[in-house]
């Protein structure tokens, strides 16, 4: 499997806090990759660096073989990386359909048709004429996913897609991701819901204090001691040695 998205030695500091420290991840083309780690481990910062919302202090980001380090967000998106946010960022004063058309690159007539198809796909087509600000939190998550899909990106970065939504919607979102992945889309997903991650991802990368501490298939990651150390904050290896 060829690598579609990868980072090499990415470093990012905010004042005295080293958010990312020689961070290296790889996302294979057509895969669903997971990115997990405790709060403050640098997951969202890595998303921000990849998508141009934050500038890396050192290191590089590659999309296929193209270096995209520190490109502006609009250029990163144009190259084929779309993302959603942990706290949804929709355009509240626009209607649901208008939200979809902001990012569309289709002609006037086909843009509307394509937008409606995506809304239908995520299941909120019935709300097209409503102001996006009136949607529930779960529907906002779906809208954000839908308007990222409008531009047909090659890689989709989802920041906590299952966070704060009910179980039936979590399953609905997981099904949509599986369908998109089957159609060839590549995903990198940040999520705290382990059941969601382990059930969906082909490969999981674990971050702790801005550094990758483990990477591999979900079955192996689930039992990796370094992962348990990172999450539980205990030095299990040291305990075993004693």
């Amino acid at each position: 499997m060829s690598m579609l998205l990868r980072t090499e030695g990415v470093r990012k500091a905010y004042g005295g806090v080293q958010a990312l420290d020689a961070c290296e991840i790889e996302v294979g083309e057509g895969s669903v990759a997971g990115l997990i780690g405790p709060n403050g481990s640098g997951k969202t910062t890595l998303f921000n660096v990849i998508t141009g919302y934050a500038k890396a202090d050192a290191g590089h980001v590659y999309l296929a073989d193209r270096k995209i380090t520190n490109l502006a967000p609009d250029k990163v998106f144009a190259l084929g990386i779309g993302r959603t946010f942990q706290l949804t960022r929709i355009f509240a004063s626009l209607t649901v359909l208008e939200n979809m058309l902001v990012a569309s690159r289709h002609g006037r007539g086909s843009a509307r048709k394509h937008a409606m198809e995506q809304l239908d796909f995520v299941g909120i087509a019935g709300h097209q004429a409503e102001l996006a600000g009136t949607l529930s939190y779960g529907q906002r998550k779906l809208l954000e996913l839908a308007y990222v899909l409008v531009a047909d990106p090659a890689v989709i970065l989802l920041d906590e897609p299952a966070g704060g939504v009910n179980l039936s919607l979590v399953n609905h979102i997981a099904d949509r991701i599986r369908e998109l992945n089957a159609a060839g889309k590549t995903f990198l997903i940040v999520e705290h819901n382990m059941e969601f991650v382990m059930g969906l991802c082909d490969r999981v990368t674990v971050l702790d204090s801005g550094t990758v501490v483990a990477a591999g298939p979900p079955g192996i990651i689930r039992t990796d001691r370094r992962v348990l150390n990172a999450y539980l904050g205990e030095d299990l290896d040291a305990g075993e040695d004693e």
């Binding site: 998508t51 141009g52 919302y53 502006a72 967000p73 609009d74 990163v76 998106f77 144009a78 779309g82 993302r83 946010f85 960022r89 929709i90 355009f91 509240a92 004063s93 626009l94 208008e98 939200n99 058309l101 902001v102 990012a103 569309s104 690159r105 006037r108 843009a111 239908d120 299941g123 909120i124 087509a125 019935g126 709300h127 529930s136 779960g138 529907q139 779906l142 308007y147 990222v148 531009a151 009910n166 039936s168 919607l169 609905h172």
Partner: protein, 348 residues
């Protein structure tokens, strides 16, 4: 059900077209019905402000970048026509051929102005627009050989009878106002307008969706400046003189903001309603109380009342009231009509 909905939509369209036709007839026949020069003078000023506030709104209202430097383009447009007519010896009605120059001057000034000011947001943007405004006012005062300093620039004599002077300008300013409103409507309906309105909600997110936000903002800023510059040129020919204090008047920008906020920022009809209320009122008070600052005091009081009681403006507030009245007696949750709707409701 669907048939009833279509009938309702067609009725609304017919009503809208009939309303627009009525408005057009009223606007065209206005100076024939109200022929007093005092009344037509009020109307000319009101239309000037309808055009300018619509131009201001197509950038500031749509994007949320509140500019207090629109007078830069208005005054520059006025000076451009005056200086060009003086230096190129343009006389009579030929001066109207200089109006595109006023628009071009406004647009050209807006490019470097926008490239600097649009890098920052919110309060910082407002402060920069005020600073640029005062730079232009100071230049108008001090570049004597170019701007005439405190004496200003006078317009060439227009060979029109005093009895038809106001009426002719009424139709010229009406054309400007209609053009500005039509452009605003076209922008609002376009993807460009959608991107501007999305910038108002979350500019960083817009950039993350592949929109070159700076280009979009700058294009709107330049277009708004061009229209304002042109209307500044018309205002100069009507008034026949421009001075630094009148061409670059700080109250001009405050009035624009007040009109837009009163009517409804970012809407099409709101700024028009605001201009039609505020400008004649302001003129009336200025003429009636020549030595006082009553109009300014009342302007400030009106601003406070708007902020307190109709912070979203007349048009959005009235729209909300109408929606509430219409939804009275209806169920809070509409009946499920399709499987897709059912699925989406389940996700709530």
């Amino acid at each position: 059900m669907a048939g009833a909905k279509i009938t309702s939509v067609s009725r609304q369209r017919v009503a809208a077209v009939a309303g627009l036709l009525l408005l057009a007839v009223a606007a065209i026949t206005f100076p024939l019905v109200f022929s007093s020069p005092v009344v037509t003078n009020y109307a000319v000023y009101a239309l000037i402000f309808v055009a300018v506030v619509s131009a201001w709104n197509m950038f500031s209202g749509f994007s949320g970048y509140i500019s207090l430097g629109q007078a830069v383009f208005f005054g520059s447009g006025a000076y451009a026509v005056g200086i060009a007519a003086r230096d190129w010896h343009v006389t009579g009605t030929a001066v109207f051929a200089l109006l595109p120059l006023a628009a071009a001057v406004g647009a050209v000034i807006a490019v470097p102005f926008g490239l600097v000011a649009l890098r920052v947001r919110r309060h910082t943007f407002i402060v920069i627009t005020i600073a640029v405004f005062f730079i232009f006012q100071l230049m108008a005062y001090n570049l004597n050989s170019f701007t005439g300093g405190t004496i200003g620039v006078s317009a060439p004599f227009l060979p029109w009878s005093p009895t038809t002077f106001n009426n002719r300008f009424y139709y010229i300013t009406l054309a400007c106002a209609v053009a500005a409103v039509v452009i605003a409507v076209l922008i609002r309906r376009s993807r460009f307008g959608l991107q501007l309105r999305a910038i108002r909600d979350d500019e960083d997110r817009v950039r993350g969706l592949g929109v070159r936000a700076m280009r979009v903002k700058l294009a709107a800023f330049v277009l708004s400046a061009a229209i304002t510059g042109l209307v500044g040129g018309v205002w100069f020919l009507y008034l026949t003189q421009v001075l630094p204090a009148s061409g670059f008047d700080p109250l001009f920008d405050l009035s624009l903001v007040l009109m837009a906020f009163l009517g409804g920022l970012g809407t099409i009809s709101g700024p028009i309603i605001g201009a039609l209320i505020v400008e004649p009122g302001q003129l009336y008070l200025t003429i009636k109380y020549t030595n006082g600052y009553l109009s300014e005091i009342l302007l400030g009081a009106l601003f406070l009342l708007i902020v307190l009681f109709v912070p979203r403006g007349i048009v959005p507030t009235a729209g909300e009231w109408i929606r509430r009245l219409r939804s009275r007696g209806r169920p809070a949750v509409p009946p499920v009509t399709s499987p897709a709707r059912e699925a989406s409701e389940a996700s709530r």
